[in-house]
Subunit: 110 residues, 2 copies
DNA sequence: TCTTAATATCGCAATATTACGATAAATAAT
DNA sequence: ATTATTTATCGTAATATTGCGATATTAAGA
């Protein structure tokens, strides 16, 4: 085997897992943080910011895009990448609600 | 190659990536949600809740534990697993702060 | 002590990820 | 048209993940 059994889980569980997986690599966390830091989102220089070769960065960007975490617009010869706020909001709500529920049930036995 | 170059990124970036990676599989999301749902955290029946074999579940639990997302206490022959609230709070703050910063800079050009 | 029950670990096969050099594709500038 | 610039894709090697059967471990109960 080796392939994830996605079909056995709910859509929401798979959605969260997909977004989380995309953030499961420090380079991709670094990319998101860089996009957040930079004012404009004309971001042709992501490659220079990261300690990785250009094809590797391109691949990471592709995965972030597939997971819906970033958007990319062609801007001449460069490409304008920026954060998809919806995905981040989704994570915020998910973990926000989870902490609320954790605080409600204080019966932590561990 | 094939190994993540963790040493090139900040501690915080690696921390977030590690926790996110642990949640990057629907089975592990399902485990967390189940632990949240169940009142007490005597959770010997996680295996019955998931469509996966016992060794596979055990492995997923191990990864969640290594990432600091759950805690496990030995309770006789069973094991009491429960969510580590700190890790969830960490994610909540991280994405919460991120949405704040996203709303501050409305200059979304995409 | 012997059995039962609950988890963990080992070993392995299938698949996925990570990284990068080489190269392609697309547009801008000369 | 030719060249430079930027990003994507291909191919491939190294490593990691996923899943499970078989087996070990650990402690409770008869």
């Amino acid at each position: 085997m080796g392939a994830t059994k996605t079909e056995h889980f709910t859509v929401q569980q798979n959605t969260i897992a997909t977004i989380a997986k995309a953030l499961g690599h420090p380079a991709r966390v670094a990319i998101i943080e860089y996009l957040l830091q930079v004012d404009t989102c004309i971001c042709g220089d992501i490659v220079n910011e990261l300690p990785l070769a250009q094809p590797t960065v391109s691949q990471h960007l592709k995965e972030l895009k597939n997971a819906g975490l970033i958007k990319g617009n062609i801007e001449g010869t460069a490409i304008c990448y920026c954060i998809n706020e919806t995905a981040i909001e989704q994570l915020k709500s998910y973990f926000g609600e989870m902490t609320v529920r954790l605080n409600e049930k204080k019966s932590s036995c561990c």
